[in-house]
Symmetry: D2
Subunit: 315 residues, 4 copies
């Protein structure tokens, strides 16, 4: 029911990963029911089927890039919309069953994306350890707790859940690395604009990439809309056919973005609206101002002027 805050949350499991940590930053989720799902498709299916009110899944990582399965799921099946984003600093910990000098560690269990983001740190601090690929951050922690490996590279939440000892914390090659998560619900009227919002879209273009992509960007540029993200994903049909995921500055209820959306709708093979929601900023910074003449107030002014011209009241 639109307007009713969600109470039943599902998230990409297992328990003890960054996604659970991200979910728990949302007060309603901290109070509500939290159920891990085995995969992103399973999480989204739970919302589509009405078994959950909202799903939290990872969208992208500032080092590893987009999470393909999430993007692919968002453009197939029944529509879902993003109602909230959560940006979480990526800070791995190195955990072990007991205190161990780094030099004594022979094997470290890690999800390949985790070890990729800590490659330099591992090379500098545990040069002799063998990195063993496992299938999730949680699996890494569990395997270290079970004694299968000497240590695990995992999320802080994995340490507490498995009673591990922290050998090193804030492990990351990029100190500013973050992961961005999306809270997805069934479609409903978006919340009111806050003045610092993001609107997510999936846009399918026809095959002539240069011309069609130029046209998409021109529709945005003409209305002064900026992009904070652009990702291409294959449509699965053939090489070179893409759907683009765009994160635009602004809110669908605003005239500026509304006009741009209409323009995209006219020229693109398909546009799927994926939600307007407040931007989550870890560091407070002012939104980028609109180019001259392209603020929402200018759109209102030009609409008023056109009304006068149409009425013959002015020329």
């Amino acid at each position: 029911m639109p307007g009713t805050p969600p109470t039943r949350f599902v998230y990409l499991g297992p328990e003890g990963t960054f996604t659970e940590a991200a979910l728990r930053t949302i007060p309603a989720a901290e109070r509500g029911l939290r159920t891990p799902a085995r995969s992103v498709p399973e999480a989204l299916e739970a919302v589509r089927a009405g078994e959950a009110d909202a799903a939290l899944v990872p969208l992208e990582n500032s080092v590893g890039g987009a999470v393909p399965v999430t993007l692919d799921e968002l453009v197939t099946g029944a529509p879902l919309v993003i109602t909230r984003e959560v940006v979480l600093p990526v800070e791995f910990v190195l955990g072990a069953r007991q205190p161990t000098p780094l030099a004594a560690i022979r094997t470290i269990a890690a999800h390949p994306q985790a070890s990729a983001q800590c490659r330099n740190w591992l090379r500098a601090n545990a040069p002799d350890a063998v990195i063993v690929d496992v299938l999730s951050n949680a699996a890494a922690a569990i395997s270290a707790a079970a004694g299968e490996h000497d240590a695990a590279l995992c999320a802080p939440i994995g340490v507490s859940r498995n009673q591990l000892t922290v050998l090193a914390d804030k492990v990351a090659d990029h100190p500013d690395a973050v992961t961005r998560f999306a809270l997805l619900t069934r479609p409903g009227r978006p919340a009111e604009p806050t003045g610092d919002d993001v609107t997510s879209l999936a846009v399918s273009i026809r095959r002539d990439q240069v011309g069609a992509l130029l046209a998409v960007l021109t529709e945005l540029a003409v209305r002064g809309i900026n992009l904070s993200r652009i990702e291409s994903r294959p449509t699965g049909e053939q090489l070179g056919t893409y759907v683009f995921f765009l994160d635009c500055t602004g809110h669908v209820a605003e005239p500026q973005l509304g006009e741009a959306l209409q323009g995209l709708r006219r020229i693109c093979a398909d546009v799927r609206f994926l939600g307007s929601y407040p931007r989550h900023r870890l560091v407070q910074e002012a939104p980028v101002p609109s180019p001259p003449g392209l603020a929402n107030a200018d759109f209102a002014d030009s609409a008023a002027w056109l009304a006068q011209v149409r009425a013959g009241e002015t020329a």
Copy 2:
């Protein structure tokens, strides 16, 4: 009073020129009062002052180009709008007091623009005649009637008014040459769209010509608006500062042109609306279809889609 058909017409005189001939193609003017003015500014002033309901003045000629004084007058002083255009084939006649073989003519009175449009014809048919510049087509006819010159290059209407004999008719280097006239009134609600309309604008841009003019054309192109005319006029301030006169396909009441107009309003230093009115076609030809996705129906469709998205009814 908007809606009331004009009955008092003023036009660029003197009597006996192409402008009077153009005015008399308008039924209401044929029935109404027709007063010649000594100049374009005088004609327009009469309408601004309420002494006339409408003024017919030349806008451009397919050979000679724009009529600068008309353009300059349209962007200074109180606003006026074009409510009708008249396109008239340019066909001069060579008239004289009595029948004369062309070879016997020694002097021909002609307005410089008239002789310029008939240069090749004159060279071929009256190679020995001296062309004497006079200040209007009507003055040419009058001077021939007065015996000051052997013949006059003038409008057909000048022959009948001055009891001249036609030595040659349909005189013109370009058989398809036309002059385009505008009927100007005080601002009022434009007539309904006909499906084949023109909208005239005067657009002032800031000094960076390439960037600013690119931006203007992009606002039009993005909405599928085509131009049938573009003229630049200096603003009088310094070399390189222009106001552009644009004739756009479409009507201000249509969504396509309305959105483009708002876009121009936002980015230009100034936009003056100069009227939406039916295109006058001498030869019937179908209007150019809109590019794919950019017809008025597509604008209506995209507006309906946006309304749904905003209501949360679809995504």
Copy 3:
């Protein structure tokens, strides 16, 4: 013969107009032979026929706009190129046979473009005088000298030639009004770049105005070329078909403009090169700097980089 300075000059006459005054600012013309022509076409024909080395004709006026006959002549007939521009302040004088109080003047002879540029001054200073149209500034001075009219609005040079008394000087509504003249010769290798040059072009586009003109401007913008002038002229074929006259910043010998010219050549129906020559500045002002990455040095750098990439020396 390219490289030989011209010695025989022709100019738009009659004697005693601004064009003669402009010609005499060129040292070689002050020393050489100066012959007035009756018209712009006659002046250009003299150069084409080899009877003169160079012709000075007016190109545009900051108030009155382009001089259509000059533009039309530049795109028809054998090619000519601009080798020099002269910019002259427009300062009319009011001359009479004898000293006369302004209030006592009943008739003033004036070329219509001259009276148009002094309309406000005349209204304020000689409100009761009748303005009588004549066919040139020189004709105005001559008619005043002949006693046909009480005074003449003319060029300073017309006063001295006709022994008139100056009743008022620096007469002009726009104190900064200027006229720009072009010195035309038969084609030859352009002089070396000076760092502050203009390149003039005549560009014919196909009928889809918005798209074709956008493409022309994009070719320039992509290379950081700015326009100091853009004028459209009808081709004479039908309404809505234009040739555009462009004055670009830069010199044909420079890589930046050279690449832009090649781009125009590829996409336009026709491009006529009308010369690269030093910009004449009445007031010293620095040339506009190129946008970031688009200076001539950047073109040289990118060419060197490409040569390395092609040689496999770097990637």
Copy 4:
């Protein structure tokens, strides 16, 4: 040594995957030395260090999208260039130790990307089997051969290497799915153009996405260059900062692409050339023709014209 065909090949291992199969389609590799590497970085490091002449690694999959690690490696460390691409149909097989009815299979080992590409097939044909994630296609085959799981979803080459029985072949949800591999070497002069080439680039833009990406695409569009691929990857610095991977039609030795490359070099923060090489087409289809005026011949024509203009030979 540029020009010397490679003889020592390294590829993304383990043995028995699609990458090995792709490598063996290259005659020189079939004859030469083929060494599996444990990871893409390890394979590329071998070439950089001179221990191998060329490395074959996966670039992208028409269903799964880009292979992030390959893209990231291509823009860090010493430059490597693509000298050849191999496109291979994706056809998984379901293999087992002995012939087994599909209905009797309880567990299937599969790499997550493999099971994702066969999800519908698995649901339809083995609805009751549990899919067990493993870390590579080869690992899946090995685990089935070891009896750890009832069957494996793997590459055909994995079946023969592990003496498995084929329960089903050509398993794939998208019958046209392909994987594209790149053969990488140290930089050298590219092979001659074939008339149907691809040029790969990595382009870093500054932060204003819409404007900067518009500028990149405009540089290509103005020269008639089309894109067959565009991928964005985060730079790792912060969300919203990207490097774009572009596959352009054409060859660096051609004027059309050469000019476009220079344009990108001028406006982008960084451009890395990743090679010009023949397009590998599974199905013969004609290359897309250049837009009017933008073929290589038109570039040659416009260069010749400019040379004439600069020499003063024509105007």
